[in-house]
Every structure is written in C-alpha cells, then in structure tokens.
Amino acid sequence: MDEALDTKLRILADAAKYDASCASSGGKKRAAGKNGIGSTTGSGICHSYTPDGRCISLLKILLTNYCLFDCAYCINRRSSNTKRARFTVAEVVSLTIGFYKRNYIEGLFLSSGIIRSPDYTMEQMMLVAKTLRNEHGFAGYIHLKTIPEANPWLIEQAGLFADRLSINLELPLQKSLEDLAPEKNTATIKTAMGQMRERIIEAKEERRHFAPAGQSTQLIIGADTATDDVVLTTSASLYKNYALKRVYYSAFSPIPEASRFLPAKSPPLQREHRLYQADWLLRYYGFTVPEITEGGDASMLDLDIDPKLAWALKHRALFPVDVNTAPREMLLRVPGLGTRAVDKILAARRHMRLRLDDIARLTSGLKRLRPFLITLDHRPTRLIDRADLRQSLIAPPVQPSLFD
C-alpha cells in the first residue's frame, strides 16, 4: 500500500472512530459464489479489539471527511480545522477486498461527510457497495450510513446492495439538533427512517434483498441536556415506530478541534454503559421506560448500580422470588439473572427442585442474587430489608476516569 493511501486511511479511519455502531450481525447466512469472495455468519465476528475494548468487525471509514455541514459535535464539521482527505470509490473497494482476503474484517462500514450535495455523496457511497457486489462478487457485510437529506431513490438503491442501512439521529431533542446541527432536521431524519422501515418490511415479505439486516441509529450522550428518560423514551419509540434493530449510544467524546459549544471533559462512559443495560431491559426483559427510570433519580439512571438492581431495590416487597415456582417474567426481573440463566432454570426445574448450589452452576452472579431468591435451602427474609443492601451490592466502577 503506498504512502498516500496510508495517510488517507489514517485520516479517514480516525474521523470515523466516533461512531459506535460497528456490529456485523443480523441478516441471514450467506456465502459467495464460485468466483466471488466472502460470507456472512448471521451473528458477526470481532476480528480484533483495540485498547478501548471495542471490537473491530468492519473496516469503518469515511469516504471523505470534507463536509458542507456544521454539526458542532462532529470533528468533520465545516468549521473545524482538522486534516481532510478523500478516497476514490476504487480505493475503498481495494482496501475492503485487500483487508477481507487477509481475514482482518467481516466487511465494510462506510460513512461520509457531505460533499457537493447529499445526493452526490449518497450516490458515491452506493457506487462503492455496488462495485463490491457486482464486480467482485463480494458477499461480506456492508453497512452504509445513509444520508437522510439525499433523495429517496438513492436510499432505495443503497438498500439493494447493503446489509444494513442506518441514519444517525444523534440528538434526541429537536431543540438540540437545531442548536448544534443547524442543517439537520429531525423530521427529515424520521421520514427517511420511515421509508426504510416500509421497504425493509415489504422486501422481507417478498423475499427480495433490501437491507436484510435492518436499520440502526446512534444517539450521542452527554453533548446536550437530554436526560436518560428522554434518551430511553426516544429509543423505545424508535424500536416501536421504525422497527430499528439497534440503537447505539455513544458517550460524547472530546474531539480535537472541539467546538466552543460543547463540554470538554472525559466521555460519560458509565452513563453510556447504564443506557446500554437499560436498552436491554427494554428489548428483552419486558421493562417499560417509566419502570427503568423509576430506579434512578430526577430522570437519570443510577450510575453506581445497574438499572435492574435499581428497580428491584425500589420494589423490595416483590422479593424474594421463589426460583422453583416463579413465572418467567418474574425471574427476568431478578437482579443478576440474565435471559439465558432464566431459561436454564426453567429447563432444570422440570427435573429437580433447585438448591443454591444448582443456581451457582447455572449463573455466575450468585452473590448479587442471594438477597432476592428463595431456593430449597435458602430463604433470605432479612437480607432484603437491610438498609445497606444497595451499598453492599455496588460493584467497583468499570473504569476509573482518566482525570481522577
């Protein structure tokens, strides 16, 4: 690889790193034909991990970081003095194939600053996907970040070649979007999401290829004043109204060339972590947004304990739960019991009455479970009333801030 291309790669990978949505999951298993290359496994593979603990699954780059727009939270905004570069369509294609053949990646995640016009940019991105599919028989994963301001027919074309399409909502509050991203518009974004949703559903019914892995979006956390309640309510409505596969949360990270409008501080990683946990409760544990935020304070989640534990501590009367008789929905509400563990308990229950030892074999979180569970040989009547229960269950922080 020559030096000029290497320099571009550095600039355009660096510019893409603030986007959290990198998964290569979803969609069906698929393999290339005889002369093509690539396959998708359905669940995605992380080919490497960077020292921030994030998975590298896709080649995540921008086509260009030149941008006409001026979103304050973004390092590529027009008014930033960052170094600029632009790939050609052929360069992105060659990098993707070269990396793929060496088993570095599952595929491509292509995003872009907006050059000339949203249409022009979207068309270039679509061309990358089309070239990979039609000229190289590439069957790996392709995720395109869609530009909502582009004309609908371009989005339709992109869906023919991509596995996943996404549009970043970025800020849940319309007001923040107006202040921080003057060219963007919540209504435009949601219209585009609605259009994609309709096409994805119809194509599935008709067994045609249109973004089979669905659509996702990203919300930036901590760049504006939106509370966790607002963020989660937004997510719940996105899952419901637009059938999104995932909502990603990205703690606002200080960027070089930061705008005056934004906080220059360590990213709120713990808050991001709690929001992901809350998101799981929404999608897989039957919790509602009010139930989740109830566990915290002033519309914010409790940062010290996970949202399920927080909810349980405010509803102590519902515990302890008898592991041998409780229904699935109630077991799912027990702090420390995940969906897998609950399913194992239900399976084991058909064969035996469970003791504490058995539970220890089925899950790793026994210490946290004890106060909330009744087993054949364990009945924690007093534990649940202890005033210091919360304190005793606080786990040490995941990662100390670098500023401490």
């Binding site: 790193k17 001026d70 060496r102 990213p267």
Partner: protein, 469 residues
Amino acid sequence: MNTAVTLAAGADQDGFRLAVRRLLAADIAPDAVVWGTPDAGDLFGGSLAGDAPPVMLPRALAAMITPVVCHRDPERYALLYRLIWRMRHGEPELLANPADALVRRLEMMRKAIRRDLHKMHAFVRFRETIGPDGTARYIAWFEPDHYIVEATAGFFVERFRSMIWAILTPVGSLFWDTERLAIGGPGTKDHLPADDAFEAGWCSYYESIFNPARLNTVAMRSEMAGKYWHNLPEARLIPALVRGAPERLRDMVAREATTPIHRDPALAVAAMAKQNPKTLADLNRIIAAAPSLVPGATRAVLGEGPIGAAIMLVGEQPGDAEDNAGRPFVGPAGQMLDRALAEAGIDRTTTYLTNAVKHFKYQQRGKRRLHASPTTSEVKHYRWWLMQELGFVQPKLVVALGATALLALTGQPLPLLRNRGPISFDGQAGFVTTHPAYLLRLPDPATQQTAYTAFVADLQHARSLASAC
C-alpha cells in the same frame, strides 16, 4: 477386567464412535473402560475388535459429542461415554438438565470449543505471496487451544472459496486450492511469508480507529487474551497505544476550543436545493443512469410526449419489445392501445405516455423473456420518479392503466375495478381503467370485444374530462 480403548491423537471422531458402538454392544459400563491415545503408552486391559451394530443417538447428544471430542482434556472420551451410558440406562432426559454436574462439565467443554472455534475464525491472519505460476496464495499460522483445525475448515472454505490458501498450526494444517480441501499434519511457522502488502495498512487502521478517550484494556484482554497477541500483527502496537493514551487525551482536552468560523448554513442549504432535478430532461438523465431496481432490464424506458399534455397515460412497466426499442407502448399491448386511442379520438402524439416502473422485469425461459409482475415494494421504489415526472408534465388528467399504475399513483394497493372511473390523486385529476395487456390476455374473442369496447368508452370519458378541466 478393564477394557482398554486406544484412539488416534487429536479429535478422533470416527474412532470414538466405533468404540462406543463396540462398548455398548458388549454392555461394558463406563467404570470398566480405560481410554487412551497411542502416545499414552500401554494400557492395561483387554481390547475390543470387530464390527458392532449402529447405535441411534438423540440429536442433542450428537451435538454434544462432536465438539467435545475436539477438546484437549484427556478425560473427554471417558466423560462422553459416561453421559451416553447414563442416558441409555434410565436417564434419557439427562442432557436437558443443565444443573447436573456431568452435563455442566461437558457443557463447559463444549463452550470452550465454541470459543476456540470462534477465536480461530476471528484471529487467523493471512499473508499473501505469489506462487511460481504467478497466482496469489494466502498463508496463515495459528495456534488453537484445542483440536479444532478440521472443524474450522468449512468456515474458511466457504468464505475464501476463490482463493488458494493454507492454514498451518502445530496440530494440523488445511490446504485449499479453490476446489479441494486437503488436511495435513502439523505445520511450522517457517512457511509463513515474511511480510504482506496490506499489513502495514491494517496496522495504520488499527492505530487510527482507537479512541484514547475510552481506554479500557480490561475489556480488550477479556476478548483478545495475551496468548493470541504474538500471531496478530496489530497487537505489536498495543503497548505504545496504551502508554500514550492519557497524554493524547489531556492534549485533546487542553487544546483550546477553536472559535467556529462562520456558522452559516447557507452553503449546505443551497447544495441541498440544487440537488433535485430541475427539468424533465434532468430527471430522465438520473433515471437512465440508475441501475435497475428490478431484476432484468437492459435499459430504462423513459416517458414520451410533450410537457403540458392534456392527458398523461401511466402503464405498468415496459415489456420485451419496449426494452429492445427503448420506447414505451410499442409492443402488442401498445398496438392495442394505439387502436383504442384512435377510436376514442385521442392523438397519441400530443399525449404523454409513461410507465409506473421504468425497467422491464422478466424471467428468462429458454430464449424467451417472460414478463414478471413488479412487487408492491418495487413499484414503490419507482414511485418517487413517477411523482417527479408528473410534476414536470403537469397534465390536465392522469390516467392509470391497470392496478400497478393505480398503486404507483396512490402509494397504496387498491382494487382496480372498484376504483374504475374518475378519481383524484392527491388533488391531481385522474382516471382509472384497465391495462391494454389485460385485454390481450382474455381467452375468448367475445369477452375480449366487450372489454375492448368498455376500454374505449373509458378513454372517451377521460378525454371529455381532460378537455373540461
């Protein structure tokens, strides 16, 4: 006396299954079996030989045996045989109880194998070299924890089918020549090419995608343990990246926020306004250049006729003849339409003709290209273009010929016959009738004649509406 079973080194799937058949046929309990491999030295005990009848094992049990046999644990065969024995002696549901100690241990072993497979799929790194015949070859060196090399072959073959590659490991090797898989003995790292054209680029990528503000080495190590690092080219960079992170972050935060230049969105807004096609010719250029959204089609067939035409006719999609000619309504249905238009007193040359879908969707049957109906979502894909087209032509009346055109003009699948006659498409005066191709498909001449007369009457009705408004 104990029975000794000697199996091949590594994951001896066939050997183990044969041994199980023999042991079960001889009704030998697990406690009386000693399992070993050739390198384990002499085993004390009698041995079994000869054929044994096949044994039916439940699917869930087979799904446990295959992975666990790949495990490095010398006890793997004994544990599996114990499980099989118990399931055949009074505990057929044993595997369904995850709390049983034996089941749990085997489950952990299976999980370890799954993880090892997953890590091998993820962390194998090929280097490219050019073979004597000038073709590219890809070679990798990897050290798995368990005897999983054969088990990973399917994944790599499927993914890299058109490449010539080899994966070498200390416990066996895989060779693929684009058609056949060969499985060989242990390899050595010596055959790994010294360098690769993309490796430096991959390392640049790794370095650039890392965000120092989010340093979290615990999470990294839990997924990418140190034991893998020496075979991962990018891992060489980790120590320096970790050391430099706090400094880089402090630097980012300390640097004074830049004053925004001029936050005037005019430029971007202008660019957005500019992108919509300004004329019908612009729109047609976009349509002509775009790939087909339906399978088939050699070209886009654009609308035809004067801007400001009194009547705009919208059909379904071009057919075989239209696709060849590049013009709408020139095939058999087009000829039928021409006749009907003439009888209804409508001049084709002053009418605008177009289709809801701009490409010919077909299925190849021998030499013939058979018309295939566009699906609802395909029609909707094309809808944006049709609406733009309508906006440029601005006819007095737009006539939907058939259900597809009706769907395209309303955005919803509506029954044709119930909507036949005058209609309003979102304020635009419209009219709904059948598609001429429908007339051609009617079986007997009498019904065809009746339908044709009704079609002509519809067109006359449309003409009078168009001249009235």
